[in-house]
Symmetry: C2
Subunit: 341 residues, 2 copies
């Protein structure tokens, strides 16, 4: 009762005068256990406050019923919403979640993966850090027979299931909307070039500009400036040019914030003097002034799909199935920052 240790099936077995294995079967509703005994066992379990030890069970089963998730930051709406989606599906399948943050660092990402491998998780869902250019750490995962599902920020160089938005399309649309608003000199701030999502956003942007026969000066395309601070540092020189951009399309709302910082420090007003378009529809996007036009990635849906992919396509398969890329449709949210009129 007041021993230091928790109640186990052995304790229940002794109390009830039956064997531990029978207790186990009773608790897991094994068909060979009759109703009256099953009830007695469960009552006793309740009485002694027995709690199933998943870890012991999972060791035996060879599965941990745990999914590992690695994201750059849990406090960005896109990721926390995606995690909520993942959580929802995992919960429905009685799996738990170990969440790690890479803080955009390749080194921390590697360590997180290492931990998850040690934890013997059944699958790793990952959205790569900004710094991440190599897929070596992902290869470590597959070397250990753990399936990998990349979402949003996927490394092109690494073959795995992938869940992404229709980045090309939606960026095309967003850029087109800027053009429709009358902006003519549009610059682009991008992310890590090894990540397909960012490549696609750039391509969609360029296609829209090219189709409208607008110029794209080489220095109007800046890659690898994903954060607020780097966005600001990239925007400043652009906005100081004699023929400066009259709009900037970015691949993240945080970058847009940086652009707004830069504009403010140069006394440029948004949207009249500069149009700004973000990506991800972070919580603050509708709170800033002017409110930020952006793209709703349906991140919770994206998270759900990523988790479902595991349960539907990988779980209980003993061969690793052919990989596939799932596309989640996103939507543009036009707010004040891109409305010239």
């Amino acid at each position: 009762m007041n021993s230091r240790k928790r109640t186990t099936i052995y304790d229940l077995a002794k109390e009830l005068g039956i064997s531990p294995s029978y207790v186990s079967k009773a608790l897991s509703n094994h068909p060979s256990v009759g109703d009256p005994i099953r009830r007695r066992v469960k009552e006793k379990a309740e009485e002694l406050n027995y709690k199933h030890n998943s870890r012991a069970a999972n060791l035996r089963r060879g599965k941990s019923r745990t999914i590992g998730v690695v994201v750059p930051h849990i406090n960005q709406s896109f990721f926390s919403d995606a995690i909520s989606g993942i959580e929802e599906i995992c919960f429905a399948h009685n799996h738990s979640l170990v969440i790690c943050q890479s803080h955009e660092s390749y080194e921390k990402e590697g360590k997180a993966i290492e931990t998850l491998i040690h934890q013997n998780v059944d699958c790793i869902l990952i959205s790569n850090a900004e710094e991440t250019m190599s897929a070596d750490h992902l290869r470590q995962i597959t070397k250990n027979k753990i399936p990998v599902i990349q979402f949003d920020r996927c490394l092109d160089a690494f073959d795995s299931f992938k869940v992404v938005n229709d980045n090309r399309n939606v960026s095309y649309e967003a850029a087109s909307s800027l053009i429709r608003e009358g902006y003519r000199n549009i610059a682009f701030l991008g992310g890590p070039t090894g990540v397909k999502a960012f490549q696609d956003r750039k391509e969609g942007f360029i296609t829209a500009i090219a189709e409208a026969s607008l110029p794209i000066p080489y220095n109007f395309i800046v890659d690898n400036v994903l954060t607020r601070e780097r966005g600001k540092q990239a925007a400043l020189p652009l906005l100081r040019l004699p023929n400066r951009p009259d709009a900037i399309f970015t691949v993240s709302d945080h970058q847009s914030l940086g652009v707004m910082d830069a504009a403010a420090s140069l006394g440029i007003t948004i949207p009249s003097g500069l149009g700004v378009f973000g990506f991800a529809d972070e919580t603050f996007a509708q709170l800033v002034t002017p409110s930020l036009s952006t793209i709703d990635q349906h991140s919770m849906e994206l998270g759900r799909k990523a988790a479902e992919l595991y349960f539907q396509r990988i779980y209980e398969q003993d061969e690793m199935p052919e990989t596939e890329t799932i596309v989640i449709l996103s939507e543009i949210r036009i707010r004040q920052s891109s409305r010239r009129q």
Copy 2:
């Protein structure tokens, strides 16, 4: 090599022609293993891509080296920062983290706790949901010999280690600053009354108002309206009163957002027509217009302290030590929303 299963110490043992237990000792740098063998074992481990299975080891050890964390939402800066602090300390002690969200629901909180108990975590750090009034679920935890540390939103009725801010003091200061700015008719929107942090914030507020000999009409104190929406619904009737408040002090930035919504819908301008003070210094607080005066809870520090409490006071003790409450100093951040001049 291409078998389905991961390499274990048994595989290494067979390859090297030594016993599994010796492999284990070599890998964990047991003093009875000589240098040359240790090296050979480690090389072979590297070669066969052996990864230590923490779960198996922890089953044997009786500890899981895993800490469970339950928070209302991971996408609020306060919580995600606290988690970052917790993560930092746990990482330093080679422990991993299972993070659960209650989504402010008592039921989900209970289920999260249930999962964590099954997962056999070594300690549970929790910040309670808005709905949570009873401590029954926390008692479940201690019944299973798992130590509990409450942080920020602590239930008064449940005795445990607690880590909180100097809520009373800082609220007193914040209210005083509103008074200094010339606001005279200040209302208060609070949180769940069973939670000490919210009681203290209310007390600090009331003390400041009383000391300044200002009136506090009974209906100017509204409890239990923690979210943005509920904050808005609470603010609307107040702002429609003939003798309406000229400032509102809230216990969360989200509530403040609700107040701002209400003010906007009634055409009241902030800060001239209404002063607003928040709590927690969420990311958006400095982004909204006008920027929101609020309180920096030093949440990362708070998270760190909570985790350290476990490692310093509970870990390796076999008796549960006398509980204690740790106070983290917070700071007021005065921005535009409370500056009348």
